[in-house]
Amino acid sequence: MKQREYLWAYSFIAAPILGFLLFAFIPLSYSVYVSFTDYSGYQTPVFNGGDNYVKLVQDELFWKTLRNTLYSALSIPIGMICSLGFATALNQKIRGIRFFRTMFFLPTISSVIALTLLWKWIFNDTYGLLNHLLELIGIQGPAWLSSERWAMPAMIIQGVWSGLGINIVLYLAALQGVPRSFYEAAEIDGANGWQRFRHITVPCISPTTLYILITAIIGALQDYPRFQIMTEGGPNYSTTTIVYYLFQNAFRYMNMGFASSMAWILGFIILAVTLLNFYFSRRWVHYE
């Protein structure tokens, strides 16, 4: 009888395991191999030892795009503060709150391409919305996307905005899970609004903060389509992220081996950052 149950159990888990083997493990192992070869993507790979990794370390653009990626990750803390602010506001009992919640979530379900094109217009230096608004308060806005200094800040602004929807929803759910009795107790003890927020809300929603932080970091380290559409990585590679550079090496310069080695380095960076995150999370994340 028990035998039979095991049989069923194994046959149920077989599908995802096989799926993992076929579509993740085998391709991943193959890409480890490819990262040690000279491989154009179309012809047979030729083993070349650690050449790709040596070249990578010496590649100026690799370091530049890595720095760009970390710079673009500034959108994470800014975005998290903004979404917590909005979520707190959207957590109030006011008229039409559903409407506002929908509005804030809308960007999340819209097409990346369409939104990116919209932002391209917003950032246009001559006819764009942003510079028009700046002009109203007397500031001459820069040529956002075509200026080496301002292109990345522009991409960060757009990144913050596009991440808002989903993070607000997550924070809203977390905020609603904070027990009312905590606040009531604190109120009796005479805590003011800020103290309640600082000492009750923030610790209570810290697991959500950790979740957002980790997924956002992984997302930011892998971000590139919006860069490709909005700036094509320019000007002067100021908005080329590491994955965009990886993509160019793989599909524009026919250097699949080099691209694979880059992917693995990136993979390890992501792994390290995530582990560090978990490690430090013990100090500030509170589970009930």
Binding site: Y10, N124, D125, G233
Partner: protein
């Protein structure tokens, strides 16, 4: 106690995976057989080939029609037209080509030609062309030659594609603005010199309270400027970057000055976030650089416009092109070539030209009403013929590996922003670009 169970589990897992794998393999086998059956002439002697391309809806319509008439003329060949949106095309095709089962006939953008041909993905078609009805002597040489590859660089050697189209740049101008501002119309025969161009653009620029409401000219194509004024990007053997020569430096500095010093071209390096044809259509630009493909759209405009040659001595303009190539592993060379011959030959060229967006690949056809289309704008359509005679392919087609060109295009940014001189920028780029040429194009240095 546990051991036997675990074993049975393992056995099950193993057998399941074996079943799945063999099932998968069997599936592959079947589909392959089917594909072959579809590809080989069946009882009716029919061959089925696949053709991949992109294009806006009007181009899709023309090609659907062309394919229908092709099938009528060749009842033994069936064409499966795979239409991929243009933005996705190269990315998708890269994946399809890497997968090893690509369409028999495919569009090849001239900038991607080098990469694909150097990877043995395209079939040489020189002999097929020679033995067919295509008269290559009647074709624009630069249109055809960019689809040659000699094993190391593009532009010479064996032929691998026929041009589907070629579009050299010309200067479009808004005649209404010229009349209003009392500026004489541009000559359709004689190109302006750099000084004349700047002078004309200055006259056509209107500023109010320090804000420019009308620009003399649209964003410049720096490659045009460099080549038109005697500059070069690569040495003759293509092994070295020569973009720091005095001619190139002068031309680029002039182009950057148009914006930064003279203010006759919009924005700093706003080539990317500024759509020049939209500005031209709304009367904010008096002149702009573009190719024949704008004609159908501009014909709908409410004002009068015409075309003139680009500035520069004896210069036609850079041209973009798309080629029609055959996948190297196709099983149906004959049928595939028949389609290439049809689309790249007189019938296909005729239909495309009639629509107004392209210039026929054949000299004899270009001088007929099929292309000139009297009574329709532009009045001086022969400017395009003048341009196509002297056109050159863009520097992006010169080498299979494009990294050198990306480094150049990206690296010019400080110059467009007016932070550095053209000379400084180009001299700094030279060693990096030389290294990229060497690293990416080992075939050149053998």
């Amino acid at each position: 106690m546990n051991a036997p169970k675990r074993n049975s589990g393992k056995v099950l897992l193993l057998s399941l995976s074996v079943a799945l794998l063999t099932g998968g393999l069997a599936g592959c086998g079947n589909s392959k057989k089917e594909a072959e059956a579809g590809n080989n002439p069946d009882a009716g002697g029919q061959v089925k080939i696949q053709f991949a391309g992109w294009g806006d809806p009007s181009e899709k319509e023309v090609f659907t029609k062309l394919i229908q008439s092709f099938e009528k003329a060749n009842p033994t060949i069936k064409v499966d037209y795979l239409h991929i949106p243009s933005g996705d095309y190269v990315g998708k095709m890269n994946t399809i080509l890497a997968g090893g089962n690509a369409p028999d006939v495919l569009y090849v953008p001239d900038g991607d030609f080098g990469r694909w041909v150097s990877q043995d993905l395209l079939l040489p078609i020189g002999d097929l062309v020679k033995n067919s009805s295509i008269d290559t002597a009647d074709m624009w040489a630069s249109g055809l030659d960019r689809y040659r590859y000699d094993g190391s660089a593009n532009g010479q050697g064996e032929l691998y594609a026929l041009p589907k189209d070629i579009g050299p740049h010309v200067l479009y101008y808004n005649k209404d603005i010229f009349s209003k501002m009392n500026v004489p119309f541009l000559s359709a025969e004689k190109p302006m010199s750099m000084e004349q161009l700047l002078d004309t653009a200055k006259k056509l620029t209107v500023s109010k309270n320090g804000k420019t409401t009308q620009y003399g000219m649209g964003p410049v194509w720096w490659e045009d400027f460099v080549l038109a004024h005697g500059g070069k990007f690569l040495s003759d053997n293509k092994q070295e970057f020569t973009g720091n020569s005095q001619e190139t430096i002068d031309a680029l500095q002039f182009a950057a000055d148009l914006t930064n010093k003279h203010g006759v071209v919009p924005s700093s390096a706003a080539l990317k976030d500024l759509n020049d044809s939209e500005m031209f259509k709304t009367g904010k630009l008096a002149m702009m650089v573009s190719g024949r493909w704008m004609v159908p759209e501009f014909r709908k405009l409410g004002f009068d416009w015409d075309v003139a040659p680009l500035s520069g001595k004896d210069w036609g303009g850079i041209s973009g092109s798309v080629g029609l190539a055959i996948y190297s592993k196709t099983k149906h060379v004959e049928a595939a070539y028949k389609l290439v011959e049809y689309l790249g030959g007189p019938e296909g060229q005729r239909e495309q030209s009639l629509m107004g967006f392209s210039i026929p690949s054949f000299k004899s056809m270009a001088s007929t009403d099929v292309f000139l289309q009297p009574g329709q704008k532009p009045e001086h359509a022969e400017v395009f013929i003048q341009a196509v005679e002297k056109q050159v392919s863009g520097p992006w087609t010169a080498l299979p590996n494009a990294k050198w060109y990306d480094l150049l295009a990206q690296g010019l940014a400080p110059m467009w922003e007016g932070k550095k001189s053209a000379a400084d920028v180009l001299n700094e780029l030279k060693p990096k670009i030389d290294a990229a040429i060497k690293e990416g194009n080992s075939g050149l240095f053998k």
